[in-house]
């Protein structure tokens, strides 16, 4: 099981995502933004960071990278894609996911151990979790407020496409406490908090993030 991890200029959590992929049992394959080459991976992760310094808008420039052309095509054919934090922003800018991520409502960068509820465990990235399972993983961003219009919100909620929700106080002003969503087909997932930083209790608040990376292994085994 080969999982590609894309590096854009300014990507920060790529090595951490690769570490999590390996911990989850798959092989991590490094993908360079400028190479239109997915190296025959079975799934792709867009990791966190500040690609292109968040110039213009977060993810606005990354979305046009040569590798992204292939990701968009592959996603259209059902390849599992996970966008974490900045990766989620790139997926929204690419229109692989609806809505947009905007500035945290209190204007500060926020790093905290955040409780989220996995509300949809049918995606290839969340199948290791029980529906309704609550986990604590790090949230760390300045632009994590998920916004979309009412029609989109109704669609997401109505179709069960919210995959994770913040528990407790809304940390950043996201509509309906949305922490992560999936596309209509269910193969592309965007998640604001960082599961790759919760794969062991030595370096993270829990090991509860590992499920994202074991899910994908089992998804492909089917």
């Amino acid at each position: 099981m080969r999982v590609g991890v894309i590096t854009f200029p300014g990507t920060l959590d790529d090595r951490d995502a690769a570490r999590a992929v390996v911990a989850g049992g798959s092989e991590a394959v490094s993908l360079w933004h400028a190479d239109a080459d997915l190296k025959s991976v079975d799934a792709v992760i867009l990791p966190g960071g500040f690609s292109y310094g968040d110039y213009l808008r977060c993810g606005a420039i990354s979305r046009f990278a040569p590798v992204m052309q292939l990701v968009i095509e592959a996603a259209g054919k059902g390849m599992p894609v996970l966008g974490i934090c900045n990766g989620f922003q790139v997926l929204c800018e690419s229109h692989l996911l609806p809505g947009a991520l905007t500035r945290n409502s209190d204007l500060h960068f926020l790093c905290r151990d955040q409780e989220i509820e996995i509300v949809n465990n049918t995606t290839p990235w969340t199948s290791s979790y029980k529906a309704g399972e609550k986990i604590v993983i790090p949230l760390k961003n300045g632009e994590g407020s998920f916004q979309c219009d009412d029609t989109t919100l109704a669609e997401l909620e109505g179709e069960g496409r919210v995959i994770a929700r913040y528990v407790g106080q809304n940390p950043n002003g996201s509509r309906n406490l949305i922490a992560g969503i999936t596309n209509a087909r269910g193969n592309v997932v965007g998640l604001m908090p960082h599961p790759e930083h919760a794969i062991d209790e030595l370096t993270g608040p829990s090991a509860q993030g590992l499920g994202f990376f074991t899910s994908i292994l089992h998804a492909m085994a089917k």
Binding site: A60, S105, L107, Q147, D149, G173
Partner: protein
């Protein structure tokens, strides 16, 4: 030399915490004129000579695809002296 200006603003229904922060700061500094404040972006584009209709059409496309995020932003393209 004229330039093409693209003004990008968040759609009215989108939360604008930066605009709100500015609106809160104004009265603290003694300015009482503002009912509300929204914050946006302005792009100034220089072209050779006077902007043509064709160029303006291209800028519109660029505004749609890059300069703004149509999911949450509106834009206006115009020529400024």
């Amino acid at each position: 030399m004229a330039k093409i200006v693209v003004d990008v603003m968040l759609k009215p229904e989108i939360l604008d915490p930066q605009g709100n922060a500015v609106a809160s700061a104004l009265p603290r500094l003694g300015f009482s004129f503002a009912k509300s404040v929204r914050q946006g972006k302005r792009f100034e584009i220089e072209v050779e000579g006077e902007p043509t209709a064709a160029q303006l059409a291209e800028v519109e496309k660029a505004a749609e695809v890059l300069l703004s995020n149509p999911v949450i932003e509106n834009y206006v393209v115009r020529v400024e002296k």
